[in-house]
Symmetry: D2
Subunit: 109 residues, 4 copies
C-alpha cells in the first residue's frame, strides 16, 4: 500500500468512527479546506516569512492535507495521477523558455 493510500485509509477510519461522513459533501469539504488554508496564512500575517512559527505551519499544513485527501477520496481521484497530469498541463502553459525566471501568469507571459 502506498503512503497516500495509507493516509487516506487512516483519515477515512477517523471520519467513520465519528460518523462524520454525513457532513462531508464536496462543497463543505472545499470550504473546510479553504478555512484551513486561511489558518495557514494567518501564521504569516504581519510578518516576514522567516519569522513564522514552524510548528504552526506544520499543523495547519497537516489539516490541509487531511481535507485534500478526503476530497480526493470522495471523488475517487488518484492523487498521484491528477498531480502528474496537472504538472504536464502546467508545463504547456508555462514553457521553460518563456517562463524561466518570471513570476507572471501564463496569460501575461
Amino acid at each position: 500500500m502506498s503512503d497516500i493510500e495509507e493516509l487516506t485509509q487512516a483519515i477515512r477510519q477517523f471520519s467513520e468512527e465519528r460518523d462524520w461522513d454525513q457532513f462531508h459533501n464536496g462543497k463543505d469539504l472545499a470550504l473546510a479546506l479553504s478555512i484551513e488554508a486561511a489558518e495557514l496564512n494567518e501564521a504569516f500575517l504581519w510578518k516576514a516569512a522567516e519569522d513564522v512559527d514552524i510548528n504552526k505551519v506544520k499543523e495547519e499544513l497537516a489539516d490541509i492535507f487531511n481535507y485534500a485527501l478526503m476530497m480526493a477520496d470522495k471523488y475517487n481521484f488518484n492523487v498521484k495521477q491528477i498531480v502528474l497530469e496537472k504538472l504536464k498541463k502546467n508545463a504547456e502553459k508555462y514553457p521553460v523558455e518563456k517562463a524561466k525566471g518570471s513570476a507572471k501568469k501564463y496569460n501575461e507571459l
Copy 2:
C-alpha cells in the same frame, strides 16, 4: 521511493527548470495555496454539491496538492508523519464518544 516523494521530486524539478525557487518563500506559497483553495470553492459557488463540474474539482485539487507538497518540501516536513500526528491530536480533541454524529467544533462539544 514512496509516491509522496515521487510527486515532491517531480514538483521540485518543474520549479527548478523554471528558476522559480526565488519566488517560493513560505508566505507566498501559503498565499498561492489559499488562492487555489478559492478556485476549488468557485467550482461549487451558487450550486448544490452534486451539480459541480468534476473535472474542475480535479484540476483545482491537483493545484492544491502541488502547493501543499511544495510547502512541505520547503520546510522539510515528512507529509505522512505530520498528517498522522495531526490525526492523533484531533482524536484527542474529538473523542469518539463526544464527537460522534456531531459537526460542532471541539470547543463547543
Copy 3:
C-alpha cells in the same frame, strides 16, 4: 440617504434586474466574498506590496464591498452600527497600553 444606503440600493437593483436573488443565500454570498478576497490577494502574489497593480486592487476591493454590502442587506445589518460596535469590542481586546506597537493576537498579548 447615506452613501452606504445609496450603494446598497444600487447593488440591490442590479441583482433584482437579473433575478439573482434566488442564488444569494448567506452561505454562497460568504463563499463569493472569500473568492473575491482571494482575487485581491492574487494581485500581491510573488510580489512586494509596492509592486502591486493599483487598478487590480481597486477592482477586486470593489467586488468585496459589493458582496459585503449584499450580505449586510440580506441580514438587515446596519453597516455603520456593526462596524462601530466591533471597534468597541476590539478596543477591549486590544487595550492601547498592551497592544501599542505589537502585531500579536489578543490571546498572546
Copy 4:
C-alpha cells in the same frame, strides 16, 4: 461627513492609537481581509445557510468591512465611486437579457 468617511476615520484613529500603521502594508491587509472572510465562511461550515448563528455573521462581516475600509483608505480609493464604477462594468459583463436568472460566469453566458 458621510457614513463611510466617519467609519474610515474611526478605524484610522483606532489603528493610530495602537501604532499599528507600521504593519498595515497592502499585502498584509489583503491577507487579513481574506482570513476574516474565511472566519465568516466558518460560520456556515457543515450547515445549511438558515442554521447559521447570525451574531457570528455580524461580527465577522464587521471585521471584513474594517479591513476593506482600511485598504480603501490606504490606497485613497473613494469607496462609493469604485463600487459604482464596478457595478457599471459588471452591467456590461452581465447584460440583463443574457444574465437574467442565470448563475453562470460571464465567460460562459
